[in-house]
Symmetry: C2
Subunit: 347 residues, 2 copies
């Protein structure tokens, strides 16, 4: 089985290196690795954030372990050359439509959250975000209005097939957890959301065991602060999912700890920490690699079916934390490599 | 000067009644009032959430004091008949484009927030939300794709004139406060946001005394949890403003306390609490009227230029709180009328 390693920009190479050490330590038979260039690093080396060789490797691979993209040097490039296009392009080209972002407080780290410990401590939710459609991928551009004004526009849309498949992801995830699904939209204003809501309700008929509710996105943003413990699984579109999943991760308090998976319909997946490339601390050995290590665990579970090994990694991370492993973002002084050492020791 | 009173649905009539009592107690010369039907109440009485007489009254008035709209009985009506269309229609028809939502912790209530007291206590920000454009008012509808699929779509757009005027609102507000403006967009994905950012940067040249920064909306949703005290004024579009302002209000912890103003270019304004119609407690005398009372104070300040009277109301609310006035949402047992009594006593 082939794993594509895409370290990317900023702290990406450092954190992916630690995840690779942990994978190596498991000595899993038949795993091979190939590395590819993405993001600003790829633009600088090959003139494009997602070069054809990288895309070809991604398509060939069983799974992708991704670091982060984003590089201030590239901020003034044309949109299609910016580092972010690597992740958007991979999602689209591989049909990676189901982005799973679990947010759960690690008991040892409950104090890190800006939320009161009793509020943060109750967080155990999963955001299922659609990542192939919505206003991200509709027609967009600049035009001149009838009055000669510059105007920017982006078309938001979802069709029933797109909504149906992500709704299934949401219901299935809820079924495997506590059986509660909250669909988030803005159906009081948007027709895209109305279609979303209609289709989610249709799909619900196949999941009588899951309790479905609907919430407007503005209310969801409030409820994630007021009482995030009320949520089990949230399913939502690309744009609202972008906002709410980042908000939820910050409610947990330790964004350096949170992993994500983005899956297509054939078991292929891209696995990445939810934090960014953190150019300010790149190359200094200060980055917390645990979100990437936990992303590797998700990869073993979702794309490779290696549940026992995934459990082992997760248990090792918990143990390392319990033993006091703390990078600077967690209020400690351990380096990126020392954090990797701590996980290896706990494995 | 004419004030239009639009109580609306749910708890609207109860809370507007208390704000009216407070206004009456100030015995301001030359103020007259006319009441109009909006929302579900208007639909039930007149077949439309924003009947022509209501709209005419709104246009004639110097200011509108608005309760809340939203009625579960109306959930299955066609979109253009739903209660929410009253507020959207008023914003659009009167050109009310600049929605000001201050979020500040009342020292007595700092403990109410789900955020740690030291985090919540530092909140003193103003969200300036554009409310005449964006995906709210673009072309929208249902269509069938080439493959015969149902699709919902909504066009997001901003032109330079729309962005320029709200940018001025943001810069002017920042100048009158602590001189910091953060413009929130999603320019790494949306062309609408790229135009937004370009124009905000152009307008910045006229405000060398204001420190401008830019933030992506996903990051803003994180920062509002992590460290909301970092913000002075946030300026953003209609959709992001909807989400972030509700999130910010919940960070403060007492959504029953927060007022808002929505202004057009001629000093006319609509003033409303940021909370909704709360149908579950309607008619029970449990609603906290203070957000509406504080909205009346904003009305005196922004549309009527009566700064001293606005200050008096705000001081009275602070005093009532300091004296222990607490409705159920603030952990107390006082009724809507008793909360009004407390403000009157403190006036
Ligand atoms: C980098 C950016 C385009 C991306 C997104 O908006 O999807 C990121 O914020 C994410 O959430 O993965
Ligand atoms: C009722 C709804 C249409 C409205 C909006 O989305 O603008 C409300 O949420 C608000 O923020 O005033």
């Amino acid at each position: 089985m082939l794993i594509a390693l895409f370290p990317g920009d900023g702290i990406g190479p450092e954190i992916v290196a630690q995840a690779k050490r942990v994978l190596d330590a498991l000595a899993i038979d038949g795993l091979t690795y190939e590395e590819g260039l993405v993001g600003g690093a790829a633009y600088k080396a090959a003139g494009h954030p997602l070069p054809p060789e990288t895309l070809a490797l991604a398509k060939r691979a069983d799974a992708i372990l991704f670091g982060a993209v984003g590089d201030p040097d590239c901020d003034s490039l044309e949109r299609h050359l910016r580092p972010e296009q690597a992740i958007l392009g991979l999602r689209k080209e591989l049909g990676l439509f189901s982005n799973l972002r679990p947010a759960k407080v690690f008991p040892e780290l409950a104090g890190e959250s800006a939320l009161k410990p009793e509020v943060a401590g109750a967080i155990d939710l999963l955001i299922v975000r659609e990542t192939n459609g919505d206003v991200y991928f509709g027609e967009k551009g600049f035009r001149t209005t009838a009055d000669g004004l510059r105007e920017g526009y982006d078309i938001m849309s979802y069709n029933e097939t797109e909504v149906r498949r992500i709704a299934h992801s949401g219901f299935q995830a809820a079924r495997a957890r506590r059986g509660k699904l909250c669909s988030v939209d803005k159906a009081n204003v948007l027709e895209t959301s109305q279609l979303w809501r209609d289709v989610v309700i249709e799909v619900a008929a196949e999941y009588p065991d899951v309790a479905l509710s609907h919430m407007y996105v503005d209310n969801a943003a409030m409820q994630l602060v007021r009482d995030p413990g009320q949520f089990d699984v949230i399913v939502t579109g690309n744009l609202f999912g972008d906002i709410l999943s980042d908000q939820a991760s910050m409610c947990v308090g330790s964004i350096g700890m949170l992993a994500s998976a983005t899956l297509n319909g054939s078991g292929q997946g891209l696995y990445e920490p939810i934090h960014g490339s953190a150019p300010d601390i790149a190359g200094q050995g200060k980055a917390n690699p645990l979100a990437t290590v936990l992303s590797a665990a998700m990869m073993l579970r979702y794309s490779l079916g290696l549940h026992a090994q995934a459990d082992r990694i997760e248990a090792a991370v918990e143990k390392a934390l319990a033993d006091g492993a703390r990078s600077p973002d967690l209020g400690g002084g351990m380096s990126t490599v020392e954090m990797g050492d701590a996980v290896l020791a706990a494995l």
